[in-house]
């Protein structure tokens, strides 16, 4: 058992950064809050899905035979976009939290890597969404000003 741990110790010289006691407490607290936030996010996504279903199965007084398709499709499309944009960061955050919790409990390097990968994915997703939002905003402003 002791010899199995030796290769890990060899790599200590290469990588100075460790997950020490202080880090472990931070990471486990992060995992707890992350789990809470992601579950709240899942519940909100579910509520929006419910709204979508209610919209889909309710009689709409403002829609006639002559309503153009884009007007009929606008609200469902927006709701689906909101659901997708909100679901994935929550999923990544949930993965981060559960994997990190497991990694800290059982000292598992693989799971810690998966957790950090999911955290990265969450930040990247939100960042790209923000970029898209900002560019849409800019396009709309330029359109309004030059019109």
């Amino acid at each position: 058992m002791e010899t199995l741990h030796q290769p890990v110790h060899l790599s200590d010289n290469l990588f100075e950064l460790q997950i020490d006691q202080e880090n472990t407490s931070y990471l486990s607290e992060m995992a707890r809050w992350g789990k809470f936030l992601s579950i709240v996010g899942f519940v909100l996504t579910g509520l929006v899905t419910l709204a979508l279903l209610v919209k889909a199965f309710s009689a709409d007084n403002y829609v006639s035979l002559y309503t153009p398709l884009w007007q009929k499709a606008m609200v469902p499309m927006l709701l689906i976009a909101v659901i997708l944009l909100y679901f994935f960061p929550c999923l990544y955050l949930y993965n981060f939290s559960s994997k990190m919790k497991f990694a800290l409990r059982s000292d598992d390097q693989e799971y810690m890597l998966i957790a950090f990968k999911n955290l990265k994915a969450c930040f990247k997703f939100v960042g790209i969404c923000t970029l898209v939002m900002i560019s849409l905003n800019l396009i709309i402003w330029i359109f309004l000003i030059t019109r």
Partner: protein
């Protein structure tokens, strides 16, 4: 002396099995750069919110001045003050998670550059603060919703 310090280092390494290896460093680096971007966008949003609040206040004050101090003018100026305060409070609330996020990103980048354990700990502590802040904010908002829901039900049942 040399042997003594070697022994302590070995002992410490045995205690902590988890390492930040190359792969984790690359993930954390990407997280840090996106975090920096997000926090800067958040700061800009805070600034825009403060500017909007001040503009609102100015416009409401101008509207109120038309009334010349009558009841309508008074209520308009009070509404303007309320809206301005609300926006500034939201901007201040939104400022802090971005501050934590910026601290996380800056410290993480320097920790990965210099392989600095102290900076790494400080960085993860900031990210923890960010998560905790947003979590507590979410709890507060959800309890506000619950309270208003209950108040709404009670008010609806009384009539």
């Amino acid at each position: 002396m040399e042997q003594y310090s070697q022994a302590t280092v070995e002992k410490e390494i045995n205690l902590f099995e988890l390492q930040i290896d190359q792969e984790a460093m690359s993930y954390l680096g990407t997280t840090a750069s996106w975090g920096k971007f997000l926090s800067i966008v958040g700061f800009v949003n805070c600034g825009i919110m403060v500017i909007v609040a001040l503009l609102f206040g100015k416009n409401f004050a101008m509207l109120a001045a038309f009334g010349g101090g009558d009841l309508l003018g008074n209520s308009i100026s009070r509404l303007g003050a309320f809206v301005t305060t609300l926006f500034i409070v939201i901007a201040v609330i939104w400022f802090f998670p971005n501050l934590f996020l910026l601290r996380f990103s800056v410290k993480m980048q320097s920790a990965l550059r210099d392989t600095d354990q102290i900076q790494l700990n400080a960085s993860l502590g900031s990210l923890k603060s960010c998560f905790k802040y947003i979590g507590i904010l979410t709890i507060v908002i959800l309890s506000f919703y619950t309270i208003s829901f209950i108040v709404g039900i009670v008010a609806a049942m009384r009539y």
